[in-house]
Amino acid sequence: MFKTLNFTDIRNKLKQAFDARVRIVTAGLSLQELRALLRGDPPTEKPNPRYKVHVTSFLFHIRPKFYKKASTLFTHTWRLGFFTVFFFALELITGLVLMIYYTPSPADAYNSILNLMSNVPFGKLLRDLHRLGAEGMVIFTVLHMLRTFLTGSYKKERSFTWLTGVVLLLVVLVLSFSGYLLTWDQLAYWAVTIGTSMAEAAPLFGNQVNLLLRGAPDIGAGGLLRFYLLHIVLLPLVAILMISIHYYKVAREHGISMPAKFDEEDLSVDVKKEANRRIDFLPDLLAHEMFLTSVGIFVLVVMTAFFYSAPLEHIANPQQTPLDTQAPWYFWWLQGMLKMGDKTLMGIILPTIIFGLLFAVPYIDRNPHRQAYKRPAAVAVGLLATFTIVVLSYMGLPQYGIETPAATRIIQDLAPEEGLGELRSIPFEELQPGIYQVNGDMPDELCPDLLWGCHTLEAVFAEFSERVHQAEQAGKLPDVEAVLVIEEWQADLMKVTPRIIWTDSQSGVRKTYEKHIFLHRDHNRSE
């Protein structure tokens, strides 16, 4: 044995053995090739070992071998599809961690959020990331769809891909909405109550659907558990399946669409050749994806660490409907439609038709051209639809089209039931006890005792006076008397009472509307 001992030999054998291990792990890439790959050098062997990976490795077989150069232009895709998946992955990861701290029962759900915020390091960051990611996913899904529509990328062999995309849009909307209820605060509870009550309007089986969703006539323990399971099991599974199909079509079958001009215009051979140049997945596309991922993570972490806080209102109270109940923003358009007519027509039939049309877009639009000026009707319809959605969303706001009595509106605007409002934003030190009457002349200084004055209080009082005067002049509050009373109620606790008294024009009776707002020194309202 010692006769054959040869160090070069041993070294070579070791090297070979090591190389073999590396090839197993990297699905066929040698150590040398791996190095070249990371440097961005050309392949070291022939045939290109980087393509082999796409056959041998599971994770790489669902990725494309290459895309054509022009199809990857930033101004063509805007990376919208990529970021949609990025958000989905972010939601999966943050969601898995959040599940550890969450209990899906009405008695514990809200407390588990409070516990997450007050007892779990990075708990707030996680929650903010999950919430912001959900909003991001909806935004990017919609933008991605809009881009696909405008560049005409849904045609011919991409029809089915479009169809799976519309399914994904629905899944994303419902996924986001089902997560809405889980915090079990007022916002969540009432938004979901409205949402599920629309199901009730469905013809024939509306009641059954409503009951199936809520688990009881009202949302309670059953409803929360159902939404929870929808949110963490069923919808993610459907989403993963649909994303896989959608992505497989793009990555393995037809690729990303080329910008229309390369397909439809007479360009020089050189330009076409360059446009069709292959951009390999390994290493270029992979590096680009890693880069985009790090940009995405960085932006999200900066936003959540410094700018964004996921809303959390008071605990859900089935006995108390907030004055301005509001659906999540991506359903405002639906709320806007509901204001215009019958619940069954506007809440069920029309949305079904809208989504039906969306599904059918590639089958309705038989125009083979993709460039915008060759399909003016389709582009016009797309832009008009977008514009309509924006207008409907505006109409869905609680401020639009709902007549609230003047006094209620004024006081509610100053101090909304949920959220901050101007009155609650007054720094605690500026809340000087007193009775501040609204009349023609404002006192120069509301709180002469304070060296530094009370500018916020003065501004809020000015706003209050202004609104009352406007309503009086508009004839909504005849013979109005209005007052803002600030009282010291307990140590570190102030009671603020805005009160409006007016003569009801119909019955001639004096009416009073007032609201009692308690403000504690330690209640940090800057967030």
């Binding site: 009282e487 010291e488 109620w489 940090n524």
Partner: protein
Amino acid sequence: MRIQLQIFLGALLITLTGAILIFVGLNEETRMAEFEQHQQAQRIEVGAELFEINCRGCHGLRGEGIADLAPALNSAELFTTRLGEVGWQGSLEDYIIATVSTGRQVSTRPELYPGAGIPAMPTWSDRFGGPLRDDQIESLAAFIQNWEATAVGGTEIRLLPTSTPDPAYSADPVARGQAVFERSGCTGCHTIDGISSGAVGPNLTNVGTIAGTRLKGFTADAYIRQSIIDPAAYLVEGYDDLMLKTFAETISQADLDDLVVFLQAQK
């Protein structure tokens, strides 16, 4: 973009992200403590609102108590000797939560505060048939305990001239009932000499005398109650069915009781 540049920028961004996360992590302890404090403050605010709606009728607007009815809650006694008096083993918070939740079947000091009879104080927790959830009772307890600073801590608060106890919450049920009568809009339609001059509905100046005679088998108390809760059940001759049907929902039981006592006193 060249992949080296992308890898470099990506690595840079990940490093920056890491730095931000470390920064966030260092502040987490403070942030969590602040959140807890902020949450406690919010509990006190919510408790104050609940107290106004549910408790002030018996315990006074500012928890000063009402003589011959219910004890003060803003007094030093609650924070010093009360637990020993009743032999309570747990904390003050537990005591308040337990008392509010289950009420008091019998008063512990019947000669001073008989309460509303039996039960002296109703149950408030929805587990025992009351209207409040546990988190609401916890908020109430936080608010009540916040009187400690003024009760025993020597903190003074400045009272406004208006914030003397509301006459509507005086010990006299007739006076309370009159306040209910005035604020519930009754004055718009009904006349009671010296109080109101509405002419839509029947004159109520002598209602205490008439009420018992209107319907066979109805006492004055029962008749007035029915007239408020279900106005259409019996209409006085010459008057149409115009009265609001919503009082059954909008008026609280305590207010209704006071209102009935007040109306019966109109003779």
